[in-house]
Amino acid sequence: MISGNLSEIWVYLSASPLLHLTLTLVAYQAGIWVYRRGGLNPLLNPVLLAVCVLVGALTLTGTSYSTYFGGAQFVHFLLGPATVALAIPLFRQFDRVKRSALAILTSVITGSLTASISAFALVKLLGGSAVTALSIAPKSVTAPVAMGISEQLGGLPSLTAVLVILTGILGAMLGPPLMTLLGIKDWSARGLAIGTASHGIGTARALQVNEVAGAFAGLAMGLNALATAILLPLLWRLMH
């Protein structure tokens, strides 16, 4: 009797967006809790922790991604307004950005080419398929642009979206310790590098640590999207 009621409740809840929206927030809060307890250690990336918990929960309950996304789309939608809002930290750092405009442009364009060429070449060298190599080339670019570039080159846009997220998480996890190891103390250089290599997820991490780093990361994300969207298809055409 009780289990009958429970399964009715489950059927009701799993069909409403409330459950998966709440689950997304709870999983992320849990991830943030672990991240804070670990002293903001970049290896305890809250996005990675939340994704692991959610994929586990969805697999265990046999829930499809499209059912989950029915609830989670409300969170996903806010990515657009949040991207627009990156204008604010950028405006606060405008004087600093103006002073180093040439340095920023040169560094981001070099980073953009390094990211696409090295990812493409490594997949090819290690025996990966051509489709994977093309899908991975725009991996450092923010997801909507990366998917467009991937399609233009002949990759799989939906695979690119996943590789973009993984790149973001990896950059946010491994970037800070790597830069500390290399003796990069400058917040503008740290932010610019993480925004170029790991777009919004790297920018989110930079914003949590330092306002200057956050502003440069957001700027780098936008510039890298523009640079890669122009340069990568051009490079690909020249090679053929």
Binding site: T24, L58, G111, K139
Partner: protein, 122 residues
């Protein structure tokens, strides 16, 4: 509060229109970011409301990537089949990109501050 959020959404919408009309290879929200930034520069100041809303959105930016990240479950088979090339390429390429970009930017900054110091000192 509400007017700041409305302004942000209007910028995003204008960004979408701008990108579609010009065929620029950037997503609408990045166009919206550029428009809002241009607006702030022209106005010459940051309204307090807008700063509050923007800081609230950006303070939780990483949450917004979770739904897309869960999409990894759709491609587990493909990722497993090419696990070595994909994981090596992702890790090595991301590390090289961060190192190259950060070292280059730091080099520019140090060069800039050195010449700045000599000019200021003499």
């Amino acid at each position: 509060m509400l007017d700041a959020l409305t302004l942000i959404l209007c910028c995003q919408l204008a960004g979408e229109l701008l990108v579609t009309a010009t065929g620029l290879p950037i997503p609408g929200p990045v166009g919206g970011m550029a428009l809002l930034f241009a607006g702030l520069v022209i106005r010459g100041g940051l309204p307090g409301d807008l700063a509050t809303v923007a800081d609230a959105l950006l303070g939780n930016l990483s949450l917004l990537f979770v739904p897309a990240g869960v999409g990894v479950m759709l491609h587990l088979g493909l990722l497993e089949a090419e696990i070595v090339p994909i994981s090596v390429a992702l890790i090595v390429s991301t590390l090289i990109t961060i190192a190259v970009t950060a070292l280059m930017m730091q080099w520019f900054n140090q060069r800039g501050s050195e010449t700045g110091d000599t000019e200021g000192g003499r």
